[in-house]
Structure formats: C-alpha cells, structure tokens
Symmetry: C2
Subunit: 291 residues, 2 copies
C-alpha cells in the first residue's frame, strides 16, 4: 500500500503505535511539542518542523521569508504549550546550484526572528539535496503550572481564537506571521486555558484534535468566527497556516477574559463557540459545507 | 556565487559568523553537539543530522538500515561529547509513491536502535517531498565533569582511535555501525580525554578539527593506524563514515590506558600518533598522498 491511500494522521498513528517511550516522558507524539523532564519547576519542550521547496515554499519566494517561516512554525508550537522558546538546531539541504546569498538570506530571516524571541541557533547540519529542504528542531521551557496540553477541554468551556482566520496562504501572511508567544504567556499567567494548540491545518481540522484528545464535542457559532479581510466562512474554517492560538476556557475564566477585554478595549481573543459533552459531535456553522 | 565554489566548512563559518547566541550557551556551532545549561551537575547536549535519498542512501537500501543510520549518526555525536542520548524528534519527507511498509521499516530500524540506547522518540513531522529526506534531532546529557570538547588537546598528548578505519561506505558498515557510547563513557569515567570527536569525514580531515580547535599540530604514525580488513592506508585516512571515536590523552593517562589494555587483554583503543606544539603542522604517514 502507498502512503497516498493513507492519511497523514493514520500514518502518524501507525508510527506512534510502534514507538516505546520512557516513563519519564510527560507528553510524547500527539501534542504541539513533546514535554520532557527538566528542572524542579519547569518542563523542557521539544518540537521539530520540516519544509520542502515545491511543497511549502517556491524558489521565487524570498529566502529571508522562507527562513523566517521555518523557525516561526516551531516557535508557534512552543507558544501553544504555554512556553517560551530557547535553543534551535537547523538542518538544511541545498542543491549544488544554490546561491550563497540565498543561504545567507535563509539564515538572516531565521536570525532576525530568533533575536526577537530570545532563541539561540546552536547547531545544525548542511547537506546536498535535489531541492531545498529546511528542518528546524526547537527547545523551549514552561513552568509546570503553566503547561497547557490539548486534552483538558471540558463541556461548558468556551472556545477562543487569537485572531482573524483565512486566506493566509493566498495573501502571503503565512510567511510573516508573528508567533503568538506573548498572547499565550498572557493567557497562562492570567486565564490559564483548559486546552490550547496553534492553528496550522485550519480551524475545523485542528479543533478536532482538541476534541479527540479531550473526549468532548463542540458547537461553533457562525457569526462569531473572525474572518481575515476578504475571507469567506469556509476559508476561515479550513485554509490553515493562520498560526493563531485556539484554546478553551472555563465559563468563569471566559467571563473574566471578556470583561478584561471590554474594560481595556483590547480585543485579542475572539469567543467562537462552546465545548459540548458529546464527543461524536462537532457542530459547524450552517454556511460551511466542505466536510 | 554558488555554494559549489564554497566548501562546506566555509559555508558553516559564514552562517556561524552571523548568528547571535545567548551567553547561557556553553558551546554552540563547531563541536559534535551544542552544550546547553541543564541541571546543577549536568549539561544538556543537542544535535541534528539530515540524510537525503540519492546522497546518503539509495532507494535500494533496506529501510530499516536507513532509519537505523539516521539515528545512529546522532547518537555517535552525543557519545563524542562523553554523554548519553535521551530524547529524539524525527522529521521525514516522503514522496507520494512511498510504500507504507518502507515508512514502517525506517521507524523499525530507528526504534530498534533507540531501545538499545535508551532513547525515546517523542515527536516529529511528516511532509511530502520529491525524494525521501530524514532528519533526526537528538538530546543527550552529560555530567559537567565528564564533558569532552574538541579544544583541549595539548602538545605531548597521545592520539587514539576506537577501532579500525576505512572501507565503511564500500562494505556497508556505515549502515550498521554501533555508536561508541559505551567506549566513550568508559573513557570519561576512567581516562578522561583532553579532546574527542567522532570520525565521520575521515581521520585526516576530522583530526584537523581537533587541531584547529585546540591550536596544536599532530604527527601520525603510519604503522599504528588500524586499517579495517582490505583497506589501504589512504582509505583508513580519508574514507570517512567510520563513526569511531578519535581522542587525545595526556601521556600519563595514555600510559595507564595502554597498561589497562595489556593487563585485561582487551584492545579497544589504538594509539596512532602525538599532538605537537606547531599548530600549522599535520604530519601524515609517508604512504599517504591524497592531500
């Protein structure tokens, strides 16, 4: 059987089934990052993302933007656990004909972002390959009581996103998004979410990961879903690569967060629906017919 | 300018020059692994290696062997610092036509080795790509007083390797080598080397990294260089992918190690030459004419 007859998630399930992990591992495959033992008060976070030319970016895109995105996706994963990024190693596969200036551009894009987020690039590997391939592996850390995984959503919790969705690939936002570390840290300090992840595959698909992990259902409210300018509801639900945070809050905390936003006139977070008890249920807005 | 007009190490130097690393980093780009803060008594080690089909392996090689090697190279880097491997994340790029059984094979080869070395595979990424690409990022740890870097070799130190060299790519050993963690741990506990690394690019080239980092020279003794069966001296010096340890010991420790080997009739380590004070000097055996 070929992998095309297999979904990405079936493949990941198959791989995961055969892996043995140490009982020391707090959280292995299946969340935004792995969660590992670290200090008395903190966990170590560990994640990786690979991008290939012709699939995730084209030869015409600016090298700086490609490098930026390769690191940004990983920082977004660390944010989704409530943590801060720390150290990265970068592997890069390059065709012989690659210009030195392109390689410099990729690293410049990465380094600019690394500086903004306090990340040190501490190692890597450079190999020959037919097309450009970039892999970043990133470490982060999170206070034990600030860790948020995907499996804590409870019936009655409100569902939130951290910004308008849709059209990210079309308008090029996916190459320049700012990972939501500041927003995630604000949340874990003040309104600790019951579950959180970042939206990379699209709201509808990614919400399903939280529902599956938390064994709950959800009902989304069509009118509340913030759409990026020019995006339809379908696009907001399925385009992906938004890299906004998707999280759930108890009714009490949700109320406090909404009050805080009302009072400060700062609107960072949008309530978009409710967690329900029926784990077979994902009630999407009427206007949405893709699935 | 194209990267072909540039050597791999010039490219790495160029990249390194433009990176800013936190003062917390004990050792960044330029050794077998990065060395990072961890606990009171131990450092965290962090390394990564990428392998591409058509460059590092062919479609005809067994998937298990390819997966095995992808992890083994990384474990070898951790060993070279005196540490033990702990947690890995694995990215894999796959063409659409890849058989599910090949993917299972790659992970089986990796998992078998991971089990032997106490490594947990805790995360990863799976993407589409034109050819198979595998990236492993591996963490490890080392007691602070056991850490060995490349820059501590001193004039008068003896140079050692942990096994016979040459022909690894030709006879397929490079796909099934056993990373020298046990040997490295034996050394750091009992005869702590002044410098150490693993041989991936060939003895002559890799020794130069130790010489450059330690600002010393070396003189190799032709007759002492252990050759793998069927290998010429040139092959032992330049073939690469041996993944043996290359290390230096003070004269006193070298004497003790050789006595210990004599007494126990266990010959794990081969003395092959001397570190000299002249940092411009790498005196290779007479039979060697490649450079």
């Amino acid at each position: 059987m070929r992998i095309t007859q297999f979904g990405e998630f079936e493949l990941i399930d198959l791989i995961r089934k055969n892996l043995r992990v140490s009982p020391k591992v707090i959280c292995g495959i299946g969340d935004d990052t792995a969660v590992l033992p670290y200090t008395k008060d903190r966990y170590l976070l560990f994640t990786t993302d690979m991008m290939a030319q012709g699939v995730h970016f084209t030869a015409r895109m600016k090298s700086e933007a490609v490098g930026y995105k390769a690191l940004a996706c990983n920082i977004s994963d660390i944010a989704a656990m409530g943590g801060v990024p720390t150290f990265a190693v970068v592997s890069i596969g390059l065709p012989k004909s690659t210009k030195v200036s392109s390689v410099e551009g990729i690293y410049r894009g990465m380094q600019d972002l690394a500086k903004d987020f306090g990340v040190s690039i501490v190692g890597g590997d450079t190999i020959k390959s037919d097309k450009v391939v970039i892999n970043v592996a990133l470490l982060g850390e999170v206070e034990k009581n600030y860790l948020v995984t995907r499996n804590g959503a409870k019936p009655g919790d409100r569902i939130f996103v951290s910004g308008p969705l849709g059209g990210s690939l079309k308008d090029g936002r996916h190459l320049m998004f700012v990972p939501r570390v500041a927003q995630a840290r604000f949340l874990v300090r003040n309104f600790k979410p019951s579950a959180m992840m970042d939206i990379s595959d699209g709201l509808a698909g990614d919400l399903n990961h939280i529902l599956k992990a938390s064994k709950v259902g959800a009902k989304l409210d069509e009118k509340s879903i913030p759409r990026y300018k020019g995006s339809t509801l379908s696009q907001a639900l399925t385009d992906g690569e938004d890299f906004e945070l998707l999280f759930t809050l108890s009714e009490a905390k949700a109320g406090k967060l909404l009050n805080w936003q009302e009072k400060t006139k700062q609107w960072f977070f949008y309530p978009i629906g409710l967690i329900t008890a029926n784990c077979k249920e994902l009630i999407l807005p009427k206007g949405f017919t893709h699935f």
